[in-house]
Subunit: 228 residues, 2 copies
C-alpha cells in the first residue's frame, strides 16, 4: 500500500490560496519607481518554472522601459480600443468607455511575453496532435509570474486590446514568434478587493458548480454537501 | 507621493515560491483513492479565481471517473503516441519510447478542461484583436489548479498526446468548445525533485537570462549583479 505524499503545512497552503484569491488585473495605481533587477529576476524565474511541453521553455520576455516605446504602445491601445468600443450598442458602449482597461502610461515598465514556436528545444514532444501546446506553456509561465508578483506586492495587468501585428512591428519581434501577452507591471499603491469588471458591473462571478461536469460534457457534477 | 502596497510576509512568499518550484508534471505514483469532493471543490475554486478576459470565465471542467472512459482515453493516447514515436529517428525514438508520458490508467480520475468560446459572458471585452484570449484564460485557470494541487500533495499530469477530436467525441463535447487540457489528477506517493524530462536527459533547463530582452526582441537584457 503506497503512502500519500504530505500536503504543505496549513500556513503554506493558506499563503498560496491567498495569492490566488487576491491576484488582480491591475490597471491603475502604478508607482513610477521601476522594478529593481533582483525582483524582476525573481519574477521571471517564477515564470521559468512553469510546465512546458517537452520541457521546451518557449517563453521569451521583453522588458520595455523606453518611454517613447511605452507611449507608442499606448497609441496602439487607443486605436484598438476605439475600434472595440464602436462594436457595442450605445448603452454597453457607455459602460465600456467608462472602464479603465490598461495602465500603459503609468507603469514604469511593460513586459511583452512571446512564444518561439520554432525552437527545437523539447524535440517536439507533446506537440504533434496539439500544436498550441507551446503557447499554452507560455500562458502557464505568465500565471506563475502573476501570482509571484501579487505576493511581492507588485501589480500586473494584461492588455489584450492591441493589434498584435503592430506590437510585433514596434518591438522588432520576428514573424514566426507569437505575441502571447502584453503586460503592465510595477509597484502599485493598492490591490482592489474585487475584480474591476465585477466592481463596475460589467460581469458577475459565476458559480463554479455550474461549470463542472461528470464524465460527459452534458452531465452536471453533483458535489457532496461538504464540497459546496 | 503614493505608498507602495506591502508584500506578503517572508513565510508566505516562500510558500508560494515553493509550490512554483516543486510543481511537477506527474505521470506515475498515483494512488487509487479518488479525490474527495471537498478537495476537488477547493482545487476547482482555485482555477475559478484565475484571470479571464472580460471576466468571461470560459472554463468548463469534466471530472472523468468512469473506468471504461479512462481506458478508452488511454487507447486514444496509445494511438497518438505510436504516431508521434514514428516521427523520430532511431536514436531519439528509443529515448522517446522509454519515457513515461501519462498516468491515465493509474490516476483514479481525469480532469478534462474545455473552453467555451461562444459564451457571451464578458461581452467580448478584450477579445476583438486577440481571439485566443478565452483559451488563454482557461490555461491560467489550469496553472492555478496545478499549483494548488501541489500544495495539497496532489499530482497533476497534462497529457497532450491525444487526438482532440477523439477526446471531444468520447466525452460528448460540442464542436464549438475547444479541448484545452486533458489532465491526470490524484493523490500520489511522491513528487520528483527534477522534471522527468530533465532527469531522463530529454532536455535541459535553460538560463532565464538568455530569454530576456530589453525594449526590443533583438536586444539582450543585462541583469545587474544582484539579479544574477
Amino acid at each position: 500500500m503506497k503512502r500519500m505524499a504530505e500536503p504543505y503545512s496549513e500556513a503554506e497552503r493558506a499563503a498560496l490560496y491567498r495569492a490566488i484569491r487576491e491576484r488582480r488585473d491591475v490597471r491603475s495605481g502604478y508607482i513610477s519607481q521601476p522594478l529593481d533587477d533582483e525582483t524582476l529576476h525573481r519574477l521571471l524565474l517564477a515564470a521559468h518554472h512553469a510546465p512546458s511541453v517537452g520541457f521546451m521553455q518557449p517563453w521569451r520576455f521583453i522588458v520595455v522601459r523606453d518611454e517613447s516605446l511605452r507611449k507608442s504602445m499606448h497609441e496602439i491601445f487607443l486605436r484598438a480600443n476605439a475600434d472595440a468600443a464602436a462594436t457595442y450598442d450605445s448603452e454597453r458602449r457607455e459602460k465600456y468607455s467608462n472602464l479603465k482597461l490598461e495602465g500603459l502610461l503609468e507603469s514604469p515598465q511593460h513586459l511583452c511575453v512571446v512564444c518561439d514556436p520554432t525552437s527545437e528545444r523539447g524535440h517536439r514532444l507533446g506537440r504533434h496532435t496539439m500544436p498550441q501546446m507551446p503557447v499554452f506553456s507560455v500562458v502557464c509561465a505568465i500565471q506563475n509570474l502573476w501570482l509571484a508578483a501579487r505576493a511581492e506586492g507588485i501589480g500586473v495587468g494584461w492588455v489584450s486590446i492591441l493589434d498584435p501585428a503592430a506590437v510585433k512591428d514596434l518591438l522588432r519581434i520576428p514573424p514566426e514568434s507569437e505575441l502571447v501577452a502584453y503586460l503592465c507591471i510595477g509597484h502599485v499603491d493598492n490591490f482592489a478587493e474585487m475584480p474591476d469588471l465585477e466592481r463596475f458591473g460589467w460581469e458577475k462571478r459565476e458559480d463554479i458548480a455550474t461549470m463542472t461536469r461528470a464524465d460527459y460534457f452534458d452531465r452536471p457534477y453533483s458535489f457532496q454537501e461538504a464540497g459546496k
